[in-house]
């Protein structure tokens, strides 16, 4: 039985005091933890981080659905 794919997203956030945009949110993510964290990007505003997380969740969903189609048993 094939193992389910697991996505992983890590957000490392800190504050740079004295900056006009003090938030630093570094995102590292993958839709398949077996392949390691493949992507990384840093944002400075909350809304962009939220959008990126939503986009990643959609990618995880799409990857899971396409895996499910590939695992479907073909009727004989």
């Amino acid at each position: 039985m094939p193992a389910d794919r697991v996505g992983l997203l890590i957000i490392r956030a800190w504050v740079e005091a004295g900056s006009a945009s003090p938030l630093r949110a570094q995102l590292r993510w993958t839709t398949d933890v077996g392949r390691g964290l493949e992507n990384s990007i840093t944002f400075v505003d909350v809304e962009t981080v939220q959008s990126a997380v939503a986009e990643w969740l959609h990618e995880v969903l799409a990857a899971g659905e396409s895996q499910g189609e590939g695992d479907a048993v073909t009727p004989q």
Partner: protein
Amino acid sequence: MASRMHTERPESQFPVTALGSDFRRESPHPPPAGMGVCLLDGFQLASANGRIAVPGSGERLLALLSLTDRAMRRAEVAGTLWPDASESRAFGSLRSAVSRLGEAGRDALRADAVDLALAPGVSVDLRGARALALRLLGAEPRESDLSGDVVAVLSRDLLPGWYDDWVLIEAEDWRQLRLHALEALARHLCEAGRFGEAALAARASVRSEPLRESAHATLISVHLAEGNQWEATCQLDRLRSLLREELGVEPSGRVLALFTPAETVTPR
């Protein structure tokens, strides 16, 4: 081979209960000399005779026990390492992991009917590295702590490429500690007039997290302390370019405040 920090642990006596083939009888002998678990820059189990190969399940078991630094109930170990399995399957996986450690691998383990722990006398590199980092952040580090060799220890990540929950938290905790410690090391070396080594430590912090402004500020401070205004200005320019390109922001006032107008040298 990377140098390892060894910590001495007192030998302890534990009651022996042998129940089934997965339980190891308590050996009257301590583990082989120099046996240690390395967690920085990847997992490794070794003794004075060299590296001891263990399967992946054994690596995860020994890594968990090394990180927790206490005896763990078998149920807790099984639940942590196999969180998605049923209790019976998790216990079965744990028994298998213990038995597959092999004779040499099991020397690193102390097992009884209820608990598992790292065997007394087995060193863990992370413990020494953490103690070093905390001394650097304290008031009086040891003279031996103020060394360029220490930069290598503080540049290593905990179990890179491991994504278990119990690893991620510890890894992030160590990462923050070592970044602060590298900056503290740079400051101590700078105060001692050892500018070359101070710059080495500060650059290691910058490399570990290029978007961390305090790391750049530390390096700039070292250059300024040595009287190298040009180097300091170049470093500021690198930071400015990086922040503009990656984030679309300018350096914080904290970094800019390091420079007086007279210290700012315009690049040609």
